[in-house]
């Protein structure tokens, strides 16, 4: 069986400037990987390219998802195949009620996979259950997507979607940014509840703190568009003590 995600020697440009200079990463089902690195090292770029955001030019390398060429697919096809990106900055969509959005998205994914659409009562029941487990009040679901949500609520809304869509690859981009300890704990519990042998997680973070809550199997250090070191969860603690400075030279 192929790895869930294989990023091989990926080179990416944004507006004529190369941001990723040959990045390689393999993630198997059941694993949790952490990607750490200073601001500007290319973590979000990697997550965007995997999710299929337009505006990035892949000039070399490949991304395989369950053995399939991900770069050939539109973002919505990737989502239907099981790729999920929890955004660093979830957008606000005024005028689109959260409930409507969730149902439209879930049914679009199911339709793309040739599955039947969820019936409304089943769907509502499912959303209410998941929302309750994440301490998301019902009235939040009636509001526009992320409109008037606090930073913590926006992140919880991302976790809610993850729980609802049940993707096989979850990429969490700086889930901890802007969260206080309580919000971080609730969101992390939501994520941990989704850990399974069929699913992999890629947790992107600047700080070690998040990894106390979501404990990774593997840690990668990124600097200047490359993975410069890979190790176990102890690598995160090392980084916390010594900082990223030592890796700046390696990448240079």
């Amino acid at each position: 069986m192929p790895a869930l995600l294989e990023v091989k020697n990926l080179q990416v440009r944004v507006e004529e400037r190369e941001i990723l200079h040959g990045l390689t990463l393999t993630v198997n089902a059941g694993e949790v990987h952490a990607i750490m690195g200073p601001n500007g090292s290319g973590k979000s770029t990697l997550s965007h390219v995997i999710a299929g955001k337009p505006g990035y030019e892949v000039t070399g390398g490949e991304i395989l998802f369950k053995g399939e060429d991900l770069l050939e697919m539109e973002a919505d096809e990737r989502a239907a195949k099981g790729v999920f990106l929890a955004f660093q900055y979830p957008v606000e969509i005024p005028g689109v009620a959260t409930m409507t959005f969730l149902r439209t998205a879930l049914n679009a994914q199911r339709k793309a996979r040739g599955e039947s659409e969820f019936s409304t009562p089943d769907f509502l029941k499912k959303v209410r259950e998941v929302a309750a487990s994440l301490n998301i009040p019902q009235d939040m679901l009636r509001r526009g997507v992320n409109v008037g949500f606090s930073g913590g609520e926006k992140k919880r809304n991302e976790v809610l979607q993850m729980a609802l869509f049940q993707p096989s690859l979850c990429i969490l981009d700086e889930m901890d940014s802007g969260l206080d300890i309580d919000a971080l704990r609730i969101a992390s519990e939501g994520v941990n509840a989704l850990r399974s042998s069929e699913r992999a997680m890629v947790v992107i973070t600047h700080y070690q703190r998040l990894l106390n809550y979501i404990v990774p199997d593997h840690v990668h250090v990124m600097s200047k568009g490359r993975v410069v070191k890979t190790g176990g969860k102890e690598l995160a603690l090392e980084l916390e003590a010594s900082g990223y400075a030592q890796y700046e030279d390696v990448a240079a």
Partner: protein, 439 residues
């Protein structure tokens, strides 16, 4: 081209049309005289060009070419087709008054008289030689060539009167159905809402399959009495090669509420011009207009709001979603008379351009003679937000679905202004039909 020549040419062509139609137009004596005066007034300019300030962005001479010959009265086959078109409307529970090719069709209507509401066909009243007011039915307080043309040619329409204090629970609906190609229908309806009365009025414009390249010329005159409440919903889904030139002349009394919503998805060339006078103190006016246009459609939404008395509030919003080479015009004018202190009038135009070739012209105008007023206007023009689109696509929505959801969100606020649930669904349905036929 020589302007004077173009004017006479058009006038002359139409002179023949008017002469030919005269025998068919209801009314004698003063009605005939009023029609002739109206036609003479029209003939001064002919179809307005961009040189007529009020029609600057909608040059009818260029867009329409000419006025089509008057549609003949519908025969049995036309009525049968129209009946199907009316049956296909999903308008919930309304009292329908149906006009087919400009002629009131009692058999297709579902109006039950009584309960303080009366309805007459305009043609019957115009033809009634004992009526002292019949010629007045064709007069306008507004000087406009297309209003004049409508008065000259009006064949029929409905005259609705709602007595004081009547709460008309079931909406009244005027349905315009066109069944014939290459002809013009001229309709004129008058609605008087008594004081303290509460009414919902719907205007629907549709056509049968056979109708192509036709013209709809309509005028609706409304009086909203003191303390009355008129909820007005207009949905225009005429054929994309048709023209629709419609006017509303509304007089609002004191402490009254007038809430008007209009959705335009049809018509190759359309203009809906609304002249609203707030003629009593402390009334509230809310107008919400939506254009959903594509292809080569040209749509014009013109609102002239006259704050003639103190303490009135007016809110105008216009939203356009424009694809392909579609062209939208929003002209909003707020006039505040010297005595109309404590006027609060605002207008806002927002356009969403789905294509680089789509175009919007905004012409806001404030004319203020009172000193203690709050008036303002604003306009935004933009494309769909890429970051929102990516978020939706990353959640599994294909491109068109993601766009549709954002377009729905954009027009949603205007649709929310419709109070009646069924009618809001009607408008949502029309908007969804437009979205559903996006390629």
């Amino acid at each position: 081209m020589n302007v004077a020549l173009a004017k006479t040419t058009t006038g002359a062509t139409l002179d023949g049309t008017f002469a030919a139609a005269r025998g068919r137009l209801p009314g004698t004596g003063p009605v005939v005289e009023t029609r002739q005066r109206a036609f003479d007034q029209f003939a001064v300019t002919g179809l307005p060009t961009r040189r007529v300030e009020e029609w600057k962005y909608t040059d009818l001479r260029r867009l329409l070419g000419d006025v089509a010959p008057l549609a003949g009265a519908p025969d049995q086959a036309a009525l049968a087709e129209a009946r199907k078109a009316v049956a296909a409307l999903k308008d919930g529970d309304t009292q329908k008054l149906v006009l087919v090719d400009g002629v009131f069709a009692a058999d297709l209507s579902s109006f039950s008289a009584g309960n303080g509401v009366t309805v007459h066909a305009l043609s019957a009243v115009l033809a009634d030689d004992t009526s002292a007011v019949r010629a007045d039915l064709l007069l306008s307080t507004v000087n406009d060539p297309m209003l004049a043309l409508n008065a000259a040619f009006a064949t029929d329409g409905v005259i609705i009167s709602v007595a004081d204090g009547i709460d008309c629970a079931t909406p009244l609906q005027i349905v315009h159905v066109t069944t014939k190609p290459n002809t013009a229908a001229f309709t004129r309806s008058l609605i008087r809402i008594g004081s303290k009365a509460k009414v919902t009025l719907v205007e629907t414009f549709v056509a049968t399959e056979a109708a192509k390249a036709y013209q709809v010329h309509d005028t609706t005159v409304m009086w909203v009495g003191d303390d009355a409440d008129l909820q007005h919903v207009r949905v225009m889904e005429d054929a994309h090669d048709a023209a629709s030139i419609a006017s509303a002349i509304v007089t609002v009394g004191a402490r009254a509420k007038f809430n008007t919503f209009s959705l335009t998805t049809g018509g190759g060339v359309s203009r809906y011009q609304s002249f609203i006078t707030l003629a009593g103190e402390n009334s509230e006016l809310s107008t919400n207009s939506v254009h959903l246009l594509r292809g080569q459609q040209h749509g014009d939404c013109t609102f002239v709001i006259d704050h003639a008395k103190p303490g009135c509030l007016s809110r105008e919003t216009f939203r356009a979603v424009l694809d392909d080479r579609a062209h939208s015009v929003f002209q909003g004018k707020i006039s505040v008379h010297q005595i109309a202190q404590q006027t609060d009038g605002k207008m806002m135009s927002r356009a969403l351009l789905l294509s680089d070739d789509a175009e919007i012209d905004n012409k806001p105008e404030l004319e203020i003679f009172a000193d203690d007023v709050q008036c303002g206007h604003g306009a935004t023009v933009g494309a769909l937000d890429d970051s929102l689109l990516f978020y939706l696509r990353a959640r599994g929505l294909p491109e068109k679905e993601a766009e549709s959801l954002l377009i729905q969100a954009f027009v949603g606020e205007a649709l929310e202004s419709i109070v009646n649930d069924d009618l809001r669904d009607v408008a949502i349905g029309a908007a969804e039909r437009w979205l559903g036929t996006r390629v």
